[in-house]
């Protein structure tokens, strides 16, 4: 604002020729007719007729169109009419200089404050009273912003008379600097309070009364923005927001960060990349999934696992979406790292309670990971070097600013690790790489096209000739079409692929190659319809075709005697239809109700075993095998899924929310290990394996303190899980032609309470959470042929009742910040032996009840320092260092406890993944 004033002085100084000292009467009369004239044209006409001389900032007035017809009118009256319903003001001094200002009036009496805004009788000024703007401490402002924020945007067909009635406007919220869409931005006006949020494309639609409004736009990581709009009729309105590059010394107290209270959704956590960067990680490798693990209600069985257990659910019950693609194995290097390159990630949203109706197919949670749109102004890049990986990311426009891309690659050079290991590991190799591309193309105002591609690959062999390989390959295309301001649709087509291969060739007679592949093709259409401010309706249809090659085992080489064996492929179509309405019943009460109906068709060609009814599913009870030809529907499962959530404002900064959801899952991951392993396989529901069903009720209380800078919440939930698969003793999961004989179904229940306190802004930011939760399962499947723990409920592998986490970051100066991360949780359950006996020359162990014991409690603290290079905006490269210590206290946290027969005797061990404090350093560069 200061700068705006200065601009006016420059105007005065630079164009002295314009200043004429005509000592004419104030009563120069004006006549004329203007039709859609600009203010410049208007001023010129008046200057021709009279001695008035105008001084104004062109950018402030370029949106004013004047349609007026006057005869012998006084200028002040004309200007009052022209500036009606704007916050433009004028002042006329004795020399007939007319100063046009926005938001305040000026007084030019010598000796008086230039900026008092006080009305002085010796001057003619606007009749309206001007609001006092608190511009004095607004240090963040840059010139672009001042002009944009003060500029009046006129929307619709301009008429001189303000129309009555409602006006619908819609548009995108984007990042000013790189054109990236900002999702989850809150767009609202005050008095009466009307609020909408931008969707994943940054798109929003709002209905307001015609006339003048101040629209507020807030979004995490962005400076709060305001726009002056003049609404005549329906129209487009885009907002570019400015990113908070860094906080200057004057800390801005930000208002409006009240999304947790305002949103009708509950159990939703969103982490943006800036927050994730502050969390120290092992080896300094920024890890999306490890960051998600610091959220309440999310657990993992140990440090070597990226598998997430959300609110007592299994690792296969999370729908992991990366730019809309379904990722089956999200881990690298045996689970030490997640398979997502942090440089191409914008944010991560975890839905663990209210799951929107457009998502389905997994019963526990949805983890939605998105990439930013590429910079639409210029080609930029970044690179990072850590102890194990190197990364490179490039983004920018292609040809013009209509098409942008962001692409990242990451690869490992972890083989050095093996070269310095003892000799027995020297032949080992482990490598991984991943690549991501996201292209967004704006066809025109109504059509956008997005292309996404992702590939990740892992390969390792550990001092043996057994080589393991696995890879994800995903691609999709999205076409977004805006039918009108209120209605848009997104059509998505995509393919997801995962495969693994194991080969062993050291013994030529037994040389083999084992392969498994899952392919998934999907087509979906999603629509959003903003009926009015009270109703936002979404609906859609989607279909997913599965083609799973459940396993092939083939010989390698001429000497191999391995019999080629292939398990019959599986085919199925999973379709769903959904509709959901977000209904704001009153300003305090809103409800979002959705229903999803999913249908699963298991298709031929396939041989299906039939088992004698009521008898255990064993090979001996097979009564027959039926063959179903290609395309024939073998079995159909279908059912409704309900998604309901409601919010009630208790006060301006507190709300109560409740939700109920039910979900269905038609695909099962088969693994009898506690962690996700590379040879886990996915199996579809079939006539003998029913789909998993989950339902959850939850209740939450949200309250913000200190002008919404501190968010607190309590959520409680209860969850039921049916048909989760567990495994019989000695189950064979790989290359099993009748897997149903080795699995049985369980019932599960989970409940808990999650407490969260979060401070998202300020020098000190972070969150503290505590979770009490239980996860229990029971197996009394009469078809199993055996009972686990006598058919009673027992703790699941990831039942960790107490969990407390603190994630904190403190900015010392603009360039240095420190982070501290503390985690505590109860040890996970484990099965330990009950007795010893001697057999085959050694002492051996007898196991009984599952999960009757726990490993010791887990505690870890991490520390890191982030050092930014200097903050000159205009320089060739920006660099930063991150250094820190993972597991600061060096605690040998147990990953597992086990007993083993060694040289004839029994020994007990504790296995720790990290046995000491691990220092790390990484270097990042942006160009």
């Amino acid at each position: 604002m200061k700068r705006g004033i200065r601009l006016m002085f420059y105007l005065i100084l630079l164009f002295p020729a314009m200043v004429s000292f005509a000592q004419e009467s104030k009563d120069d009369l004006i006549s004329g007719s203007f039709n859609q004239a600009s203010f410049e044209q208007f001023a010129k006409k008046i200057e021709e007729q009279t001695s008035f001389r105008f001084y104004f900032d062109v950018t402030q007035l370029d949106s004013i169109n004047i349609t007026i017809s006057v005869a012998k009118a006084h200028l002040p009256a004309v200007l009052d009419q022209v500036f009606a319903n704007t916050d433009l003001h004028f002042a006329i001094d004795k020399q007939n200089h007319v100063f046009i200002t926005q938001g305040f009036t000026i007084s030019m009496e010598p000796g008086s404050s230039f900026l008092t805004g006080k009305k002085d009788s010796s001057f003619v000024v606007s009749k309206k009273s001007a609001g006092n703007r608190g511009y004095i401490n607004q240090t963040k402002k840059i010139s672009q912003e001042i002009s944009v924020e003060n500029k009046l945007f006129e929307i619709g067909l301009k008429v001189n008379e303000i129309p009555k009635g409602k006006v619908k406007i819609a548009g995108y919220v984007r990042d000013l600097h790189n054109g990236e869409a900002i999702s989850g931005a809150m767009i609202y006006v005050e008095n009466p309070h009307i609020q909408v949020a931008s969707d994943q494309f940054g798109y929003f639609s709002i209905i307001l009364t015609a006339g003048r409004h101040t629209i507020n736009i807030i979004a995490p990581g962005m400076f709060d923005a305001k726009r002056q709009v003049m609404l005549y009729s329906d129209g487009k309105f885009n907002v570019d927001m400015d990113e908070k590059v860094l906080k200057l010394k004057e800390v801005l107290v930000e208002v409006g960060k009240e999304k947790n209270v305002r949103s009708a959704m509950m159990g939703t956590n969103k982490l943006d990349i800036i927050a994730m960067k502050q969390i120290p990680t092992a080896f300094g490798e920024l890890d999306v999934l490890k960051a998600v693990l610091s959220l309440p209600g999310v657990k993992s069985v140990g440090e070597a696992s990226t598998g997430l257990n959300v609110r007592g659910g299994a690792t296969d019950q999370n729908l992991i979406l990366f730019n809309g693609s379904n990722i089956f194995n999200p881990s690298h290097l045996f689970g030490f790292f997640s398979a997502f390159d942090p440089d191409v990630i914008k944010d991560v949203t975890l839905y663990k309670s209210s799951i929107p109706a457009n998502y389905g197919g997994r019963i526990s949670s949805v983890l939605d990971i998105t990439s930013p749109d590429g910079n639409d102004k210029k080609i930029k890049g970044s690179a990072g070097i850590g102890p194990l990986t190197g990364r490179l990311t490039v983004e920018g426009p292609i040809n013009n600013d209509k098409t942008t891309f962001v692409a990242g690659v990451r690869t490992t050079y972890s083989n050095w690790l093996f070269s310095i290991l003892p000799k027995q590991y020297e032949k080992s190799k482990a490598s991984f790489r991943d690549g991501t591309i996201h292209i967004s193309h704006k066809v025109n105002n109504k059509n956008n096209i997005y292309l996404n591609g992702y590939i990740s690959a892992d390969k390792f062999n550990l001092n043996s000739d057994t080589t393991y390989q696995y890879q994800n390959q995903n691609a999709n295309i999205q076409w977004k079409h805006n039918f009108n301001n209120q209605f848009y649709g997104v059509l998505t087509a995509g393919a997801d692929h995962y495969d693994y291969k194991v080969s062993g060739t050291d013994n030529p007679v037994n040389a083999y190659k084992l392969a498994y592949t899952i392919n998934q093709y999907k087509l979906k259409a999603d629509f959003s319809y903003f009926l009015n401010n009270k109703h936002k309706i979404t609906f859609g249809v989607n279909s997913l075709y599965y083609n799973i090659h459940s396993g092939s085992f083939n010989p390698v080489g001429k000497q191999s005697l391995v019999i080629p064996d292939t398990i019959e492929a599986e085919h199925a179509i999973e379709s769903a239809l959904y509709a959901s309405d977000q209904y704001n019943i009153t300003s305090k009460f809103s409800i979002e109700g959705g229903i999803r109906y999913s249908i699963f068709n298991y298709l031929g060609p396939k041989h299906i075993n039939e088992y004698a009814p009521g008898l255990p599913r064993q090979e001996s009870n097979v009564t027959g095998t039926n063959f179903y030809p290609s395309g024939k529907i073998i079995k159909t499962y279908s059912g409704p899924e309900y998604r309901v959530s409601a919010r009630y404002f208790l006060s301006d900064n507190s709300s109560l929310k409740a939700s109920f959801n039910s979900l269905r899952q038609y695909i099962h991951m088969l693994s009898n290990t506690t962690a996700i392993s590379p040879t886990d396989i996915w199996k579809l529901s079939d006539p003998n394996i029913r789909p998993q069903l989950g339902s959850q009720v939850s209740l939450g209380l949200y309250k913000n303190f200190k002008s919404n800078t501190i968010e607190t919440s309590v959520e409680v939930y209860y969850k039921w899980i049916q048909n989760y698969l567990d495994y019989k003793s000695g189950a064979v999961l790989i290359m099993n032609h009748h897997i149903e004989t080795d699995v049985f179904t369980t019932k599960g229940k989970a409940y808990g309470a999650e407490f969260l306190m979060k401070k998202a802004t300020g020098k000190l930011n972070g969150w503290v959470s505590y979770t009490y939760s239980r996860s229990l399962i029971r197996e009394n499947d009469p078809l199993a042929g055996e009972l686990i723990n006598k058919g009673n409920y027992y703790p699941s592998n990831f039942d960790q009742p107490h969990n407390a986490t603190m994630v904190g970051n403190y900015r010392i100066t603009h360039r240095y910040s420190v982070s501290l991360n503390i985690t505590y949780s109860t040890g996970r359950p484990i099965t330990l032996p009950v007795a010893v006996y001697d057999y085959a020359g050694s002492a051996r162990l007898l196991y009984s009840d599952r999960n009757a014991y726990r490993i010791p409690d887990y505690f870890r603290s991490d520390f890191s320092v982030i050092m930014e290079g200097d903050h000159k905006l205009k320089q060739l490269t920006h660099n930063s260092w991150t250094l820190g210590i993972y597991n600061l206290t060096g605690r040998k946290n147990a990953y597992s406890i086990y007993y083993v027969s060694q040289n004839g005797t029994i020994k007990g061990y504790k296995l720790s993944i990290f046995g000491s404090a691990i220092p790390f350093i990484t270097y990042n560069i942006r160009f």
């Binding site: 045996f334 390792f460 057994t466 003793s729 000695g730 057999y839 014991y853 005797t905 061990y909 504790k910």
Partner: protein
Amino acid sequence: MRRTHFYHKLVLCGICSLLFGYCKTPYDAPLKATQTNFLVVEGFIDGAAPTTIKLSRTRILSAGDTAISLKELNANVLIEDDHQNTYPLAEAGNGVYSNTNTLILNPARQYRLHISTSSAREYFSDFVPFKPSPLIDTIGWKFKDGGVQTYLNTHDPNDSTRYYRWEYNETWEVHSYYDSYIKYDAASNSVIPRTEQAYICWHSHNSTNILLGSSAKLSSDVINEMPFVYIEQHDERLSVLYSIWVKQYALDLKGYNFWQAMKSNTENVGSIFDPQPNQTPGNIHCRTDSSETVVGYIGAGNTFEKRVFINNHLMPPTWNIFPFCPTKIVPDNPDSLTFYFGTGALAPYANASTASGSPAFSASGIKCVDCTISGGINIKPPFWP
């Protein structure tokens, strides 16, 4: 493919121990002391060698496994076939029940074990088919990473065996560094002539790991180069002569699964991808109380045995590393004898004299002189060449 997590364990420990200190630390969980006392039955109904059945009881798991091993005494053990023939086994003490002669069993019949304990409980194993083991084709060896890898080849021309289990015994000859003909007698604090040689000893070791093989996925019933014992370079087992004796059992699928589960529960643990421990039920049931847990699987068939020798001559000349065995001249006086020999630090191996000419003994570390100290036996086994 068989046990993927084994490899993970390797790399995990490698990374951990190198970079982050130890990943594996001894630990004894605070276990609830449950008295189980379940019957454990181990053995094989053998048509080619005397049948031996061992009966014992499960015991409490304690730190260091200090609980006493409980043997089941005074039981009645019978082998029964499906034609009501019975073959009683005699109690040989210490929970072992056996027959001295090889039973003549009919391969067309099915066999089971019938146990009556002194507490009047009756146990039966399931009837199992008689599975003859094919011959062991070869037990061979090859150099691998500087050491010696022994392996076994076998095949069944009828393609009907498919599942195998092996037990082995290793025997090896070692020589002391010095061949001594004298020894220290503590009772008289004097050096006396040796009556038993202490220069050549034989060590013996039974397999403690479960060795299983399967050709179920192969087009013919062939076991090719099944790895057995790996002998590290310079290992004393190959310093003179080494022998391995292997006994081959044929298993049915149920028996194979039982052994496989026992192996994975007790040997293949400690990785980051451990499967859930489980107890695969064996094939022995208590008739008196069907809910009682009984541990064990009894199979039947002909076993086959084979022994091979590996001579140190076939090793590279760098194989043998000679121990550090300096000679010390110990004067023949009571104080010196008590000081050097009475404490067991040194042992005499030859007569000598001091620099001044008085009687003395050449002595060296006791392990350099007496091979029985390290657990060797100085009597040549009957099968030794």
